[in-house]
Symmetry: C3
Subunit: 273 residues, 3 copies
């Protein structure tokens, strides 16, 4: 039972920078470019392989797989299933980002099927986590209508399927399995400008896939991704004058943030779950 700390996330960023994990992304057409740029900036690599012919095979090569339900069609939906199966078969960690689940019935069914394949980690906003857990069913498009803290019981219940689950918001709530049962942390900080640039959430999902490739536990990897985003976005907000310049400064900051920056600036606290 080891809670992630600023020290352990700092060490995990150092491991990411040392190894440049390769992510396989299956993400939506709104975020595909930004997810890749975020991964490159942070110190990882990405290949967007989302066709049914190659999705399963590549999941055996990748260090981590992101499956994001943002803009599914019949073709990518098939690839999601194949990639998840390929990841499970190869022991590759994979992340489910249930964008829009709850309010949109077709993808909610896709998410339910994917959930049965035991994602390593799930990252969503509060509404999506609640919907995914079957505790609620309202979502306003792809934005969050719930406070992320309200999603903690849902996140804990999803530990039946996933090893770690996060609900993003002004404060991020993150839970994971331990030998002593569920444990959790919060990550504070970040910037409200993250909500004014599209794909910041989706790219956090990509970062989670990269961190899972190098972290000692899924909970630590998930927490490190959130902490990296929180610290970088604070720095970016300081260097920007609106959503356009924030997005640029955010990529610069993801690259410039060091393990020592996370060690001194990440605000991680234990959460009773």
């Amino acid at each position: 039972m080891t809670h992630p700390t600023a020290d352990s996330v700092a060490d995990t960023l150092a491991a990411l920078r040392d190894t440049t994990p390769l992510v396989q992304s299956l993400t939506n057409i709104v975020s595909a470019n930004f997810v890749t740029n975020v991964l490159l900036a942070a110190g990882a690599s990405n290949a967007h392989i989302d066709n049914a012919h190659e999705a399963a095979g590549f999941a055996a090569i990748a260090g981590g797989v992101l499956i994001n339900l943002g803009t599914p069609d019949d073709g990518t939906a098939e690839a999601f299933t194949l990639a998840a199966d390929g990841a499970v078969a190869a022991g590759t960690p994979w992340v489910l980002d249930p964008v829009g689940v709850g309010g949109l019935p077709w993808r909610t069914g896709l998410a339910a099927d994917l959930l049965k394949k035991s994602p390593t980690a799930i990252r969503g906003n509060g509404s999506e986590i609640i919907a995914l857990a079957g505790l609620g069913n309202s979502t306003r498009g792809v934005d969050s209508a719930s406070d992320s803290g309200d999603a903690v019981p849902a996140a804990v219940s999803l530990l039946d399927q996933a090893e770690a689950v996060s609900a993003s918001g002004p404060v991020d709530y993150i839970v994971g399995r331990s030998t002593d049962g569920p444990i959790g942390v919060t990550v504070s900080g970040g910037s409200p400008l993250l909500t004014k640039v599209t794909a910041t959430g989706c790219s956090l999902g990509g970062l989670v896939a990269a961190y899972l490739a190098v972290a000692s536990t899924p909970l630590l990897g998930l927490t490190a991704a959130h902490a990296h985003v929180a610290v970088a976005s604070e720095l970016a907000e300081h260097n920007s004058s609106g959503p356009g310049s924030f997005a640029v400064a955010y990529l610069d900051a993801l690259a410039s943030v060091t393990p020592d920056d996370l060690r001194t600036q990440a605000r991680i606290e234990r959460l009773d779950v």
Copy 2:
């Protein structure tokens, strides 16, 4: 018979900021990211829902729907039809952006079918508006070969199908229905750098969908979107040194422009139609 003015577009921006309308975009893979960032920056929200399973249902939830013909395939073409039907059934305003219509026969057929479903507003460049009206059939890819003023008769003729129509260019020509017949305005200003960044036109289409959700008439909503773009792009040009920095400054400016900025800087004149 009320012509839009700088005052009425300023009030409409205030309404947009107060209500954060949710747009459903069905747009092309070149513009999907930028359309969403433009909507977030301007003060709206966006969900890109372009699969056939969810397009119709979401059109009942959205405040406005954008259907953009930039990169159609068989799947999204089906979703266009379903989204338009869903919007009409739910009374949700929707925008047709006929990218490339005229020179490209398949999508020209798609546009003809969509036109029968009575879009609330149509936004295109001069070539596209002329082609859509059946008054001409030449287009050079996705750029405009006609002066937008030449498209006014075509725009007026499209009022048989749509409530308001605009032809973008160095000066934007905008017409709409009124109880006294067609009326129109021009919006001047803007920046030539808008033509050096892709998806500025497509994202204007998205803004139109957002403004239709809050404006008292389609003509006012369409005009407010054009005016917001014109004023923001002038400011952005002032803060940029090329197309890359312009795109960044444009997003910042869309966010920073206030209703009072539109009131004092929007250049809107009556157009005899």
Copy 3:
């Protein structure tokens, strides 16, 4: 037997700026936006026409066609074939960018089929060029694992199919047919930040398509595109503080670089092949 020089690439940029060639891109969802912005910034134009209904017909209108294998699906794969056939039939130059070929079996088959259609130029990284030539079969996702110089024999062998071939890297190796057999050049310079922004390689492919439309030989067009990127990226690196600001400065620099800049700053040397 005329090797490209800084003078001849400078003249080719002048021709590009004079004529604004229209590219048809069939590229992946990660790069579609950036490819178009790079083309607009550099002085060309782009239409992303990748559906099977329109791909062949538009290839007859375009000045150059880019076929990029980054994120193929069954629909775009069909469009690739149709666009290549349309380009060949119309005498339009076309570029094959074999992203990920070698490590990914399905697209490797697509590339083999496209190779039979005699691309005007091929642009890839060292791994991809080696894989395409059948001299090797390892690739790490979409990044290069080989030094680009190791790919020269493979590039020369591909001149059986293509008129000019390049392998990108810290130094770019470029070969082409001449009446005296294969000749080649290297292009040096550039910036390591190009590898920290996604789609810089894909957009180079787009630039190649634009330059092929105006260059006196495919080798010259291919070399001019590489030289434009090298000079612009050096300038951009000077004006940036990380990958986000580099991408912005790169677009500005692609637009601001003049023919005289290429004449004085392009570092092109003859390569014995």
